[in-house]
Symmetry: C2
Subunit: 303 residues, 2 copies
Amino acid sequence: MTVSEPSFARALAEAAARTERMLEACLPVPDGTPGEAELAAAMRYAVLGGGKRLRAFLALEVARLFGADGAGAGRAAAAVECLHAYSLIHDDLPCMDDDDLRRGKPTVHRAWDEATAVLAGDALQTLAFEILADAATHPDPAVRARLVLRLAQASGHAGMVGGQAIDLAAGKAAGPLGAAQVKRLQALKTGALIEFAAEAGAIVAQAADADLSAIRAYARALGEAFQIADDLLDLTGSEAEVGKRLRKDAGAGKATFVDILGPGGARARAAELVAEAEARLAPYGPAAEVLIQAARFVVERRS
Amino acid sequence: MTVSEPSFARALAEAAARTERMLEACLPVPDGTPGEAELAAAMRYAVLGGGKRLRAFLALEVARLFGADGAGAGRAAAAVECLHAYSLIHDDLPCMDDDDLRRGKPTVHRAWDEATAVLAGDALQTLAFEILADAATHPDPAVRARLVLRLAQASGHAGMVGGQAIDLAAGKAAGPLGAAQVKRLQALKTGALIEFAAEAGAIVAQAADADLSAIRAYARALGEAFQIADDLLDLTGSEAEVGKRLRKDAGAGKATFVDILGPGGARARAAELVAEAEARLAPYGPAAEVLIQAARFVVERRS
Protein backbone atom coordinates (compact mmCIF):
# COMPACT_ATOMS: atom_id res chain seq x y z
CA MET A 1 0.00 0.00 0.00
CA THR A 2 1.35 3.43 -0.95
CA VAL A 3 -0.03 6.04 1.38
CA SER A 4 1.25 9.56 1.08
CA GLU A 5 -1.00 10.90 3.83
CA PRO A 6 0.05 9.87 7.33
CA SER A 7 -3.21 10.84 9.04
CA PHE A 8 -5.22 8.76 6.54
CA ALA A 9 -2.86 5.81 6.98
CA ARG A 10 -3.33 6.00 10.73
CA ALA A 11 -7.12 6.35 10.45
CA LEU A 12 -7.32 3.39 8.06
CA ALA A 13 -5.20 1.20 10.35
CA GLU A 14 -7.28 2.21 13.37
CA ALA A 15 -10.53 1.50 11.51
CA ALA A 16 -9.20 -1.91 10.48
CA ALA A 17 -8.21 -2.81 14.05
CA ARG A 18 -11.50 -1.60 15.48
CA THR A 19 -13.49 -3.46 12.84
CA GLU A 20 -11.52 -6.64 13.47
CA ARG A 21 -12.44 -6.50 17.18
CA MET A 22 -16.10 -5.83 16.38
CA LEU A 23 -16.20 -8.70 13.85
CA GLU A 24 -14.63 -11.01 16.46
CA ALA A 25 -17.50 -10.11 18.80
CA CYS A 26 -20.20 -10.65 16.15
CA LEU A 27 -19.01 -13.83 14.42
CA PRO A 28 -19.94 -17.33 15.64
CA VAL A 29 -17.21 -19.31 17.39
CA PRO A 30 -16.67 -22.85 16.05
CA ASP A 31 -17.80 -25.45 18.61
CA GLY A 32 -17.40 -29.18 18.25
CA THR A 33 -20.63 -29.85 16.32
CA PRO A 34 -19.84 -31.34 12.89
CA GLY A 35 -21.09 -28.98 10.20
CA GLU A 36 -21.67 -25.97 12.43
CA ALA A 37 -17.96 -25.93 13.32
CA GLU A 38 -16.85 -25.83 9.66
CA LEU A 39 -19.47 -23.19 8.86
CA ALA A 40 -18.31 -20.90 11.66
CA ALA A 41 -14.63 -21.49 10.79
CA ALA A 42 -15.23 -20.66 7.12
CA MET A 43 -17.17 -17.50 8.01
CA ARG A 44 -14.32 -16.33 10.24
CA TYR A 45 -11.66 -17.23 7.67
CA ALA A 46 -13.42 -15.16 5.02
CA VAL A 47 -13.98 -12.06 7.14
CA LEU A 48 -11.18 -11.80 9.69
CA GLY A 49 -7.63 -10.67 9.16
CA GLY A 50 -7.86 -9.50 5.61
CA GLY A 51 -8.55 -6.63 3.30
CA LYS A 52 -7.93 -2.93 3.53
CA ARG A 53 -11.27 -2.37 5.34
CA LEU A 54 -11.91 0.68 3.17
CA ARG A 55 -15.69 0.20 3.54
CA ALA A 56 -15.44 -0.03 7.33
CA PHE A 57 -13.20 3.04 7.36
CA LEU A 58 -15.80 5.01 5.39
CA ALA A 59 -18.61 4.04 7.79
CA LEU A 60 -16.53 4.88 10.87
CA GLU A 61 -15.05 8.12 9.54
CA VAL A 62 -18.37 9.50 8.23
CA ALA A 63 -20.02 8.66 11.57
CA ARG A 64 -17.21 10.51 13.34
CA LEU A 65 -17.64 13.52 11.02
CA PHE A 66 -21.26 13.80 12.18
CA GLY A 67 -20.50 13.19 15.84
CA ALA A 68 -21.21 9.47 16.30
CA ASP A 69 -18.29 7.60 17.78
CA GLY A 70 -19.93 4.79 19.76
CA ALA A 71 -20.47 1.10 19.15
CA GLY A 72 -23.14 1.76 16.52
CA ALA A 73 -20.71 2.97 13.87
CA GLY A 74 -18.44 0.01 14.59
CA ARG A 75 -21.34 -2.42 14.22
CA ALA A 76 -22.42 -0.80 10.94
CA ALA A 77 -18.82 -1.10 9.71
CA ALA A 78 -18.71 -4.78 10.71
CA ALA A 79 -22.02 -5.43 8.93
CA VAL A 80 -20.70 -3.91 5.69
CA GLU A 81 -17.55 -6.05 5.91
CA CYS A 82 -19.66 -9.21 6.43
CA LEU A 83 -21.75 -8.34 3.39
CA HIS A 84 -18.61 -7.63 1.34
CA ALA A 85 -16.98 -10.92 2.43
CA TYR A 86 -20.12 -12.89 1.46
CA SER A 87 -20.00 -11.35 -2.02
CA LEU A 88 -16.33 -12.27 -2.44
CA ILE A 89 -16.92 -15.90 -1.38
CA HIS A 90 -19.75 -16.34 -3.89
CA ASP A 91 -17.94 -14.42 -6.68
CA ASP A 92 -14.95 -16.74 -6.28
CA LEU A 93 -17.01 -19.96 -6.71
CA PRO A 94 -16.17 -22.25 -9.64
CA CYS A 95 -19.52 -21.43 -11.31
CA MET A 96 -18.75 -17.69 -11.08
CA ASP A 97 -15.20 -16.31 -11.43
CA ASP A 98 -13.55 -19.61 -10.38
CA ASP A 99 -10.74 -18.08 -8.33
CA ASP A 100 -8.31 -19.99 -6.15
CA LEU A 101 -6.72 -17.02 -4.41
CA ARG A 102 -8.18 -14.12 -2.43
CA ARG A 103 -6.21 -11.68 -0.30
CA GLY A 104 -3.22 -13.97 -0.85
CA LYS A 105 -4.95 -17.03 0.70
CA PRO A 106 -6.88 -19.95 -0.83
CA THR A 107 -10.51 -19.02 -1.46
CA VAL A 108 -13.15 -20.57 0.84
CA HIS A 109 -14.22 -23.24 -1.65
CA ARG A 110 -10.55 -24.26 -2.05
CA ALA A 111 -9.84 -24.25 1.70
CA TRP A 112 -13.10 -26.18 2.43
CA ASP A 113 -15.46 -27.13 -0.39
CA GLU A 114 -18.11 -25.51 -2.59
CA ALA A 115 -21.04 -26.37 -0.34
CA THR A 116 -19.35 -24.80 2.68
CA ALA A 117 -18.51 -21.73 0.59
CA VAL A 118 -22.15 -21.30 -0.51
CA LEU A 119 -23.37 -21.67 3.09
CA ALA A 120 -20.68 -19.44 4.64
CA GLY A 121 -21.57 -16.71 2.13
CA ASP A 122 -25.27 -17.14 2.81
CA ALA A 123 -24.76 -16.93 6.58
CA LEU A 124 -22.51 -13.87 6.31
CA GLN A 125 -25.20 -12.05 4.35
CA THR A 126 -27.73 -12.93 7.07
CA LEU A 127 -25.30 -11.87 9.79
CA ALA A 128 -24.91 -8.42 8.22
CA PHE A 129 -28.65 -7.81 8.58
CA GLU A 130 -28.70 -9.35 12.07
CA ILE A 131 -25.97 -6.97 13.24
CA LEU A 132 -27.78 -3.90 11.87
CA ALA A 133 -31.19 -4.86 13.30
CA ASP A 134 -29.86 -5.54 16.80
CA ALA A 135 -30.65 -2.90 19.42
CA ALA A 136 -26.91 -2.67 20.22
CA THR A 137 -26.42 -0.84 16.91
CA HIS A 138 -28.67 2.10 17.79
CA PRO A 139 -31.30 2.77 20.47
CA ASP A 140 -33.67 4.25 17.85
CA PRO A 141 -35.32 1.45 15.83
CA ALA A 142 -35.92 3.91 12.96
CA VAL A 143 -32.13 4.11 12.52
CA ARG A 144 -31.82 0.32 12.53
CA ALA A 145 -34.67 -0.21 10.07
CA ARG A 146 -33.20 2.44 7.77
CA LEU A 147 -29.75 0.80 7.84
CA VAL A 148 -31.30 -2.55 6.95
CA LEU A 149 -33.42 -1.11 4.14
CA ARG A 150 -30.54 0.79 2.56
CA LEU A 151 -28.12 -2.15 2.81
CA ALA A 152 -30.71 -4.40 1.20
CA GLN A 153 -31.28 -1.92 -1.63
CA ALA A 154 -27.52 -1.51 -2.17
CA SER A 155 -26.71 -5.21 -2.16
CA GLY A 156 -29.67 -6.98 -3.80
CA HIS A 157 -31.06 -7.39 -7.31
CA ALA A 158 -31.02 -3.62 -7.93
CA GLY A 159 -27.53 -3.25 -6.47
CA MET A 160 -24.51 -5.50 -5.98
CA VAL A 161 -26.08 -8.82 -7.03
CA GLY A 162 -27.62 -7.15 -10.09
CA GLY A 163 -24.17 -5.86 -11.04
CA GLN A 164 -22.68 -9.31 -10.69
CA ALA A 165 -25.45 -10.71 -12.93
CA ILE A 166 -24.68 -8.08 -15.62
CA ASP A 167 -20.98 -8.94 -15.30
CA LEU A 168 -21.64 -12.65 -15.82
CA ALA A 169 -23.80 -11.94 -18.86
CA ALA A 170 -21.08 -9.65 -20.27
CA GLY A 171 -18.59 -12.51 -20.06
CA LYS A 172 -20.85 -14.59 -22.31
CA ALA A 173 -21.88 -11.82 -24.73
CA ALA A 174 -20.65 -11.56 -28.33
CA GLY A 175 -18.96 -8.17 -27.88
CA PRO A 176 -17.61 -6.07 -25.00
CA LEU A 177 -19.83 -3.62 -23.08
CA GLY A 178 -20.02 0.07 -24.01
CA ALA A 179 -18.94 2.91 -21.73
CA ALA A 180 -22.41 3.51 -20.23
CA GLN A 181 -22.86 -0.22 -19.56
CA VAL A 182 -19.47 -0.55 -17.85
CA LYS A 183 -20.26 2.46 -15.68
CA ARG A 184 -23.65 1.00 -14.70
CA LEU A 185 -22.18 -2.46 -14.05
CA GLN A 186 -19.52 -1.05 -11.76
CA ALA A 187 -21.91 1.36 -10.02
CA LEU A 188 -24.05 -1.64 -9.06
CA LYS A 189 -21.39 -4.30 -8.50
CA THR A 190 -18.97 -2.33 -6.31
CA GLY A 191 -20.21 1.26 -6.14
CA ALA A 192 -23.49 0.62 -4.35
CA LEU A 193 -21.90 -1.05 -1.30
CA ILE A 194 -19.14 1.58 -1.05
CA GLU A 195 -21.84 4.25 -1.16
CA PHE A 196 -23.85 2.43 1.50
CA ALA A 197 -20.79 2.11 3.76
CA ALA A 198 -20.36 5.90 3.85
CA GLU A 199 -24.11 6.47 4.10
CA ALA A 200 -24.35 4.02 7.02
CA GLY A 201 -22.02 6.24 9.04
CA ALA A 202 -24.29 9.22 8.36
CA ILE A 203 -27.44 7.22 9.21
CA VAL A 204 -25.98 6.03 12.52
CA ALA A 205 -25.08 9.66 13.32
CA GLN A 206 -28.61 10.74 12.35
CA ALA A 207 -27.17 13.31 9.95
CA ALA A 208 -29.50 15.70 8.13
CA ASP A 209 -30.80 14.81 4.65
CA ALA A 210 -28.54 17.40 2.97
CA ASP A 211 -25.52 15.83 4.68
CA LEU A 212 -26.63 12.37 3.57
CA SER A 213 -26.84 13.59 -0.03
CA ALA A 214 -23.34 15.12 0.13
CA ILE A 215 -21.91 11.93 1.62
CA ARG A 216 -23.57 9.75 -1.00
CA ALA A 217 -22.22 11.94 -3.83
CA TYR A 218 -18.73 11.85 -2.27
CA ALA A 219 -18.86 8.06 -1.95
CA ARG A 220 -20.21 7.60 -5.48
CA ALA A 221 -17.21 9.51 -6.89
CA LEU A 222 -14.81 7.63 -4.61
CA GLY A 223 -16.36 4.30 -5.63
CA GLU A 224 -15.96 4.97 -9.36
CA ALA A 225 -12.38 6.15 -8.80
CA PHE A 226 -11.74 2.96 -6.80
CA GLN A 227 -12.95 0.81 -9.68
CA ILE A 228 -10.87 2.66 -12.27
CA ALA A 229 -7.83 2.18 -10.04
CA ASP A 230 -8.75 -1.53 -9.79
CA ASP A 231 -8.83 -1.79 -13.57
CA LEU A 232 -5.45 -0.04 -13.81
CA LEU A 233 -4.01 -2.36 -11.14
CA ASP A 234 -5.41 -5.32 -13.06
CA LEU A 235 -3.37 -4.17 -16.06
CA THR A 236 -0.15 -3.14 -14.34
CA GLY A 237 -0.12 -4.67 -10.83
CA SER A 238 1.70 -7.76 -9.63
CA GLU A 239 -0.36 -10.72 -8.40
CA ALA A 240 1.92 -11.06 -5.36
CA GLU A 241 1.17 -7.49 -4.26
CA VAL A 242 -2.53 -7.45 -5.15
CA GLY A 243 -3.16 -10.92 -3.68
CA LYS A 244 -5.54 -12.24 -6.35
CA ARG A 245 -5.51 -13.41 -9.94
CA LEU A 246 -5.15 -10.50 -12.39
CA ARG A 247 -5.88 -9.85 -16.05
CA LYS A 248 -8.75 -12.33 -16.13
CA ASP A 249 -11.20 -9.73 -17.50
CA ALA A 250 -9.27 -9.51 -20.76
CA GLY A 251 -9.51 -13.28 -21.18
CA ALA A 252 -13.24 -13.24 -20.42
CA GLY A 253 -13.93 -10.58 -23.06
CA LYS A 254 -15.29 -8.07 -20.53
CA ALA A 255 -14.71 -4.39 -21.09
CA THR A 256 -13.23 -2.26 -18.29
CA PHE A 257 -12.83 1.48 -17.82
CA VAL A 258 -9.26 1.12 -19.05
CA ASP A 259 -10.33 -0.65 -22.26
CA ILE A 260 -12.76 2.15 -22.99
CA LEU A 261 -10.75 5.22 -21.94
CA GLY A 262 -7.20 3.92 -22.39
CA PRO A 263 -4.75 4.00 -19.45
CA GLY A 264 -4.18 7.77 -19.79
CA GLY A 265 -7.87 8.55 -20.12
CA ALA A 266 -8.67 6.32 -17.16
CA ARG A 267 -6.09 8.13 -15.00
CA ALA A 268 -7.53 11.51 -16.04
CA ARG A 269 -11.08 10.36 -15.21
CA ALA A 270 -9.92 9.09 -11.81
CA ALA A 271 -8.36 12.48 -11.06
CA GLU A 272 -11.64 14.19 -12.01
CA LEU A 273 -13.52 11.91 -9.64
CA VAL A 274 -11.13 12.66 -6.78
CA ALA A 275 -11.71 16.38 -7.38
CA GLU A 276 -15.46 15.75 -7.35
CA ALA A 277 -15.21 13.84 -4.05
CA GLU A 278 -13.14 16.68 -2.54
CA ALA A 279 -15.65 19.30 -3.69
CA ARG A 280 -18.53 17.45 -2.03
CA LEU A 281 -16.73 17.49 1.32
CA ALA A 282 -15.30 21.03 1.08
CA PRO A 283 -18.17 22.51 3.15
CA TYR A 284 -17.14 20.35 6.11
CA GLY A 285 -13.66 21.91 6.36
CA PRO A 286 -10.71 20.24 8.11
CA ALA A 287 -12.95 17.69 9.86
CA ALA A 288 -13.42 15.98 6.49
CA GLU A 289 -9.70 15.98 5.60
CA VAL A 290 -9.18 12.26 6.28
CA LEU A 291 -12.12 11.36 4.01
CA ILE A 292 -10.63 13.54 1.26
CA GLN A 293 -7.30 11.77 1.72
CA ALA A 294 -9.18 8.48 1.33
CA ALA A 295 -10.40 9.54 -2.12
CA ARG A 296 -6.81 10.34 -3.12
CA PHE A 297 -5.62 7.04 -1.67
CA VAL A 298 -7.98 4.86 -3.69
CA VAL A 299 -6.41 6.01 -6.95
CA GLU A 300 -2.81 5.88 -5.68
CA ARG A 301 -2.90 2.45 -4.01
CA ARG A 302 -0.87 -0.46 -5.38
CA SER A 303 -2.99 -3.28 -3.95
CA MET B 1 -53.25 -32.62 -0.89
CA THR B 2 -55.73 -34.36 1.39
CA VAL B 3 -57.54 -31.79 3.46
CA SER B 4 -60.28 -32.97 5.76
CA GLU B 5 -61.01 -29.49 7.09
CA PRO B 6 -62.80 -27.25 4.61
CA SER B 7 -62.20 -23.97 6.47
CA PHE B 8 -58.46 -24.69 6.63
CA ALA B 9 -58.39 -25.59 2.93
CA ARG B 10 -60.12 -22.31 2.12
CA ALA B 11 -57.80 -20.29 4.39
CA LEU B 12 -54.70 -21.94 2.89
CA ALA B 13 -55.88 -21.24 -0.66
CA GLU B 14 -56.72 -17.65 0.22
CA ALA B 15 -53.32 -17.17 1.89
CA ALA B 16 -51.59 -18.61 -1.19
CA ALA B 17 -53.49 -16.29 -3.56
CA ARG B 18 -52.86 -13.25 -1.39
CA THR B 19 -49.17 -14.08 -1.03
CA GLU B 20 -48.84 -14.59 -4.78
CA ARG B 21 -50.20 -11.08 -5.39
CA MET B 22 -47.91 -9.58 -2.76
CA LEU B 23 -44.87 -11.39 -4.19
CA GLU B 24 -45.79 -10.11 -7.67
CA ALA B 25 -45.70 -6.57 -6.26
CA CYS B 26 -42.35 -7.07 -4.48
CA LEU B 27 -40.34 -9.01 -7.09
CA PRO B 28 -38.29 -7.29 -9.81
CA VAL B 29 -39.72 -7.40 -13.34
CA PRO B 30 -37.27 -8.61 -16.02
CA ASP B 31 -36.31 -5.76 -18.33
CA GLY B 32 -34.15 -6.09 -21.42
CA THR B 33 -30.76 -5.68 -19.72
CA PRO B 34 -28.65 -8.85 -20.21
CA GLY B 35 -27.91 -10.38 -16.82
CA GLU B 36 -30.45 -8.39 -14.84
CA ALA B 37 -33.24 -9.88 -16.96
CA GLU B 38 -32.16 -13.48 -16.27
CA LEU B 39 -31.68 -12.70 -12.57
CA ALA B 40 -35.18 -11.27 -12.22
CA ALA B 41 -36.69 -14.11 -14.26
CA ALA B 42 -34.96 -16.75 -12.12
CA MET B 43 -36.08 -15.04 -8.89
CA ARG B 44 -39.70 -15.00 -10.11
CA TYR B 45 -39.53 -18.62 -11.34
CA ALA B 46 -38.32 -19.80 -7.93
CA VAL B 47 -40.89 -17.92 -5.85
CA LEU B 48 -44.07 -17.54 -7.88
CA GLY B 49 -46.70 -20.14 -8.60
CA GLY B 50 -45.49 -22.93 -6.39
CA GLY B 51 -45.60 -24.53 -3.01
CA LYS B 52 -48.30 -24.90 -0.42
CA ARG B 53 -47.46 -21.49 1.13
CA LEU B 54 -47.75 -23.00 4.60
CA ARG B 55 -45.29 -20.44 6.01
CA ALA B 56 -47.21 -17.53 4.47
CA PHE B 57 -50.46 -18.99 5.79
CA LEU B 58 -49.01 -19.13 9.33
CA ALA B 59 -47.89 -15.49 9.19
CA LEU B 60 -51.25 -14.29 7.84
CA GLU B 61 -53.42 -16.42 10.11
CA VAL B 62 -51.51 -15.57 13.30
CA ALA B 63 -51.65 -11.86 12.39
CA ARG B 64 -55.41 -12.21 11.89
CA LEU B 65 -55.77 -13.97 15.27
CA PHE B 66 -54.24 -10.90 16.93
CA GLY B 67 -56.20 -8.39 14.90
CA ALA B 68 -53.76 -7.40 12.12
CA ASP B 69 -55.24 -7.84 8.67
CA GLY B 70 -53.54 -5.13 6.62
CA ALA B 71 -50.69 -5.10 4.13
CA GLY B 72 -48.07 -5.67 6.84
CA ALA B 73 -48.99 -9.29 7.43
CA GLY B 74 -49.02 -9.91 3.69
CA ARG B 75 -45.57 -8.37 3.31
CA ALA B 76 -44.19 -10.44 6.20
CA ALA B 77 -45.66 -13.55 4.55
CA ALA B 78 -44.04 -12.61 1.23
CA ALA B 79 -40.67 -12.05 2.94
CA VAL B 80 -40.78 -15.52 4.53
CA GLU B 81 -41.60 -17.10 1.16
CA CYS B 82 -38.65 -15.26 -0.49
CA LEU B 83 -36.34 -16.51 2.26
CA HIS B 84 -37.69 -20.04 1.90
CA ALA B 85 -37.31 -19.97 -1.90
CA TYR B 86 -33.69 -18.78 -1.60
CA SER B 87 -32.91 -21.72 0.70
CA LEU B 88 -34.46 -24.20 -1.76
CA ILE B 89 -32.46 -22.80 -4.72
CA HIS B 90 -29.17 -23.12 -2.85
CA ASP B 91 -30.04 -26.53 -1.32
CA ASP B 92 -30.74 -27.88 -4.81
CA LEU B 93 -27.31 -26.82 -6.21
CA PRO B 94 -25.00 -29.56 -7.54
CA CYS B 95 -22.55 -28.96 -4.66
CA MET B 96 -25.38 -29.41 -2.12
CA ASP B 97 -28.25 -31.88 -2.68
CA ASP B 98 -27.85 -31.85 -6.50
CA ASP B 99 -31.55 -31.96 -7.34
CA ASP B 100 -33.03 -31.56 -10.82
CA LEU B 101 -36.67 -31.27 -9.78
CA ARG B 102 -38.47 -28.96 -7.35
CA ARG B 103 -42.24 -28.54 -7.07
CA GLY B 104 -42.45 -30.66 -10.22
CA LYS B 105 -40.36 -28.21 -12.31
CA PRO B 106 -36.63 -28.13 -13.20
CA THR B 107 -34.59 -26.53 -10.41
CA VAL B 108 -33.17 -23.05 -11.06
CA HIS B 109 -29.66 -24.27 -11.88
CA ARG B 110 -31.16 -26.71 -14.41
CA ALA B 111 -33.49 -24.13 -15.97
CA TRP B 112 -30.67 -21.50 -16.11
CA ASP B 113 -27.21 -22.32 -14.78
CA GLU B 114 -25.38 -22.59 -11.44
CA ALA B 115 -24.17 -18.99 -11.38
CA THR B 116 -27.68 -17.65 -11.95
CA ALA B 117 -28.99 -19.99 -9.22
CA VAL B 118 -26.42 -18.73 -6.70
CA LEU B 119 -27.24 -15.10 -7.52
CA ALA B 120 -31.03 -15.57 -7.59
CA GLY B 121 -30.84 -17.20 -4.15
CA ASP B 122 -28.60 -14.42 -2.86
CA ALA B 123 -30.94 -11.71 -4.16
CA LEU B 124 -34.04 -13.43 -2.75
CA GLN B 125 -32.45 -13.50 0.69
CA THR B 126 -31.71 -9.77 0.38
CA LEU B 127 -35.24 -9.08 -0.86
CA ALA B 128 -36.74 -10.76 2.22
CA PHE B 129 -34.95 -8.27 4.48
CA GLU B 130 -35.75 -5.37 2.15
CA ILE B 131 -39.47 -6.17 2.31
CA LEU B 132 -39.47 -6.36 6.11
CA ALA B 133 -37.47 -3.13 6.61
CA ASP B 134 -39.66 -1.08 4.26
CA ALA B 135 -42.06 1.35 5.95
CA ALA B 136 -44.94 -0.23 3.99
CA THR B 137 -44.66 -3.27 6.28
CA HIS B 138 -45.46 -1.38 9.48
CA PRO B 139 -45.54 2.29 10.48
CA ASP B 140 -43.63 1.52 13.71
CA PRO B 141 -39.91 1.04 12.93
CA ALA B 142 -39.55 -1.03 16.12
CA VAL B 143 -41.81 -3.65 14.53
CA ARG B 144 -39.78 -3.63 11.32
CA ALA B 145 -36.42 -3.88 13.12
CA ARG B 146 -37.76 -6.75 15.24
CA LEU B 147 -39.00 -8.65 12.18
CA VAL B 148 -35.57 -8.28 10.54
CA LEU B 149 -33.70 -9.35 13.66
CA ARG B 150 -35.84 -12.43 14.25
CA LEU B 151 -35.73 -13.50 10.60
CA ALA B 152 -31.94 -13.15 10.62
CA GLN B 153 -31.66 -15.21 13.80
CA ALA B 154 -33.98 -17.90 12.42
CA SER B 155 -32.28 -18.17 9.04
CA GLY B 156 -28.56 -17.64 9.64
CA HIS B 157 -25.68 -19.61 11.13
CA ALA B 158 -27.61 -20.33 14.33
CA GLY B 159 -30.78 -21.24 12.40
CA MET B 160 -31.58 -22.54 8.92
CA VAL B 161 -28.09 -22.27 7.37
CA GLY B 162 -26.58 -23.89 10.47
CA GLY B 163 -29.03 -26.78 10.10
CA GLN B 164 -28.09 -27.21 6.45
CA ALA B 165 -24.39 -27.29 7.44
CA ILE B 166 -25.10 -30.05 10.03
CA ASP B 167 -27.07 -31.94 7.38
CA LEU B 168 -24.17 -31.78 4.91
CA ALA B 169 -21.71 -32.98 7.54
CA ALA B 170 -24.08 -35.84 8.46
CA GLY B 171 -24.05 -37.01 4.85
CA LYS B 172 -20.26 -37.36 5.03
CA ALA B 173 -20.06 -38.85 8.56
CA ALA B 174 -19.20 -42.47 9.28
CA GLY B 175 -22.48 -43.28 11.03
CA PRO B 176 -26.03 -41.89 11.12
CA LEU B 177 -27.05 -39.16 13.57
CA GLY B 178 -28.66 -39.97 16.91
CA ALA B 179 -32.16 -38.94 17.94
CA ALA B 180 -31.10 -35.71 19.66
CA GLN B 181 -28.95 -34.70 16.70
CA VAL B 182 -31.72 -35.33 14.18
CA LYS B 183 -34.10 -33.27 16.29
CA ARG B 184 -31.61 -30.40 16.50
CA LEU B 185 -30.78 -30.56 12.78
CA GLN B 186 -34.46 -30.36 11.84
CA ALA B 187 -35.26 -27.68 14.41
CA LEU B 188 -32.62 -25.49 12.78
CA LYS B 189 -32.99 -26.48 9.13
CA THR B 190 -36.77 -26.28 8.78
CA GLY B 191 -38.22 -25.57 12.22
CA ALA B 192 -36.68 -22.14 12.80
CA LEU B 193 -38.22 -20.56 9.69
CA ILE B 194 -41.64 -22.14 10.32
CA GLU B 195 -41.49 -20.76 13.86
CA PHE B 196 -40.48 -17.35 12.56
CA ALA B 197 -43.35 -17.34 10.04
CA ALA B 198 -45.90 -17.71 12.83
CA GLU B 199 -44.03 -15.30 15.08
CA ALA B 200 -43.88 -12.69 12.30
CA GLY B 201 -47.69 -12.56 12.26
CA ALA B 202 -47.69 -11.92 16.01
CA ILE B 203 -44.96 -9.26 15.73
CA VAL B 204 -46.84 -7.41 12.97
CA ALA B 205 -49.95 -7.50 15.17
CA GLN B 206 -47.89 -6.23 18.13
CA ALA B 207 -49.13 -9.15 20.23
CA ALA B 208 -48.17 -9.36 23.92
CA ASP B 209 -45.08 -11.33 24.98
CA ALA B 210 -47.18 -14.16 26.44
CA ASP B 211 -49.00 -14.51 23.12
CA LEU B 212 -45.69 -14.55 21.25
CA SER B 213 -44.48 -17.39 23.49
CA ALA B 214 -47.66 -19.41 22.92
CA ILE B 215 -47.40 -18.90 19.15
CA ARG B 216 -43.76 -19.91 19.09
CA ALA B 217 -44.48 -23.09 21.06
CA TYR B 218 -47.40 -23.92 18.74
CA ALA B 219 -45.23 -23.37 15.66
CA ARG B 220 -42.34 -25.39 17.10
CA ALA B 221 -44.64 -28.39 17.58
CA LEU B 222 -46.16 -27.90 14.13
CA GLY B 223 -42.69 -27.62 12.56
CA GLU B 224 -41.46 -30.88 14.09
CA ALA B 225 -44.70 -32.63 13.07
CA PHE B 226 -44.20 -31.23 9.54
CA GLN B 227 -40.72 -32.72 9.36
CA ILE B 228 -41.83 -36.13 10.63
CA ALA B 229 -44.58 -36.12 7.99
CA ASP B 230 -41.91 -35.20 5.40
CA ASP B 231 -39.81 -38.17 6.44
CA LEU B 232 -42.87 -40.48 6.24
CA LEU B 233 -43.73 -39.07 2.79
CA ASP B 234 -40.15 -39.63 1.74
CA LEU B 235 -40.61 -43.33 2.62
CA THR B 236 -44.10 -43.89 1.27
CA GLY B 237 -44.97 -41.02 -1.11
CA SER B 238 -44.90 -40.99 -4.89
CA GLU B 239 -42.47 -38.62 -6.63
CA ALA B 240 -45.22 -37.53 -9.03
CA GLU B 241 -47.42 -36.37 -6.15
CA VAL B 242 -44.67 -34.87 -3.98
CA GLY B 243 -42.94 -33.13 -6.92
CA LYS B 244 -39.34 -33.80 -5.91
CA ARG B 245 -36.85 -36.66 -5.71
CA LEU B 246 -37.58 -38.99 -2.77
CA ARG B 247 -35.66 -41.53 -0.71
CA LYS B 248 -32.34 -39.76 -1.25
CA ASP B 249 -31.66 -39.53 2.52
CA ALA B 250 -31.37 -43.32 2.78
CA GLY B 251 -28.74 -43.35 0.03
CA ALA B 252 -26.82 -40.52 1.71
CA GLY B 253 -26.66 -42.38 5.04
CA LYS B 254 -28.53 -39.62 6.91
CA ALA B 255 -30.81 -40.59 9.76
CA THR B 256 -34.41 -39.32 9.80
CA PHE B 257 -37.13 -39.36 12.46
CA VAL B 258 -38.55 -42.47 10.77
CA ASP B 259 -35.20 -44.30 10.92
CA ILE B 260 -34.98 -43.59 14.62
CA LEU B 261 -38.58 -44.08 15.73
CA GLY B 262 -39.80 -46.50 13.03
CA PRO B 263 -42.88 -45.61 10.93
CA GLY B 264 -45.30 -46.41 13.78
CA GLY B 265 -43.29 -44.52 16.37
CA ALA B 266 -42.94 -41.55 14.02
CA ARG B 267 -46.73 -41.45 13.48
CA ALA B 268 -47.31 -41.60 17.24
CA ARG B 269 -44.82 -38.77 17.84
CA ALA B 270 -46.48 -36.66 15.14
CA ALA B 271 -49.86 -37.18 16.84
CA GLU B 272 -48.36 -36.07 20.17
CA LEU B 273 -47.01 -32.92 18.52
CA VAL B 274 -50.38 -32.08 17.00
CA ALA B 275 -51.93 -32.42 20.47
CA GLU B 276 -49.22 -30.12 21.85
CA ALA B 277 -49.91 -27.52 19.13
CA GLU B 278 -53.64 -27.70 19.89
CA ALA B 279 -53.06 -27.26 23.61
CA ARG B 280 -50.99 -24.13 23.05
CA LEU B 281 -53.83 -22.51 21.11
CA ALA B 282 -56.71 -23.73 23.29
CA PRO B 283 -56.83 -20.44 25.26
CA TYR B 284 -57.68 -18.56 22.05
CA GLY B 285 -60.90 -20.52 21.47
CA PRO B 286 -62.66 -20.78 18.09
CA ALA B 287 -60.60 -17.89 16.59
CA ALA B 288 -57.59 -20.23 16.55
CA GLU B 289 -59.47 -23.16 14.97
CA VAL B 290 -57.94 -22.74 11.51
CA LEU B 291 -54.42 -22.77 13.00
CA ILE B 292 -55.26 -25.97 14.88
CA GLN B 293 -56.53 -27.49 11.64
CA ALA B 294 -53.20 -26.52 10.08
CA ALA B 295 -51.33 -28.62 12.64
CA ARG B 296 -53.55 -31.59 11.79
CA PHE B 297 -53.06 -30.96 8.09
CA VAL B 298 -49.27 -31.09 8.16
CA VAL B 299 -49.31 -34.69 9.36
CA GLU B 300 -52.13 -35.79 7.03
CA ARG B 301 -50.86 -34.24 3.79
CA ARG B 302 -49.74 -36.39 0.88
CA SER B 303 -47.42 -33.85 -0.81
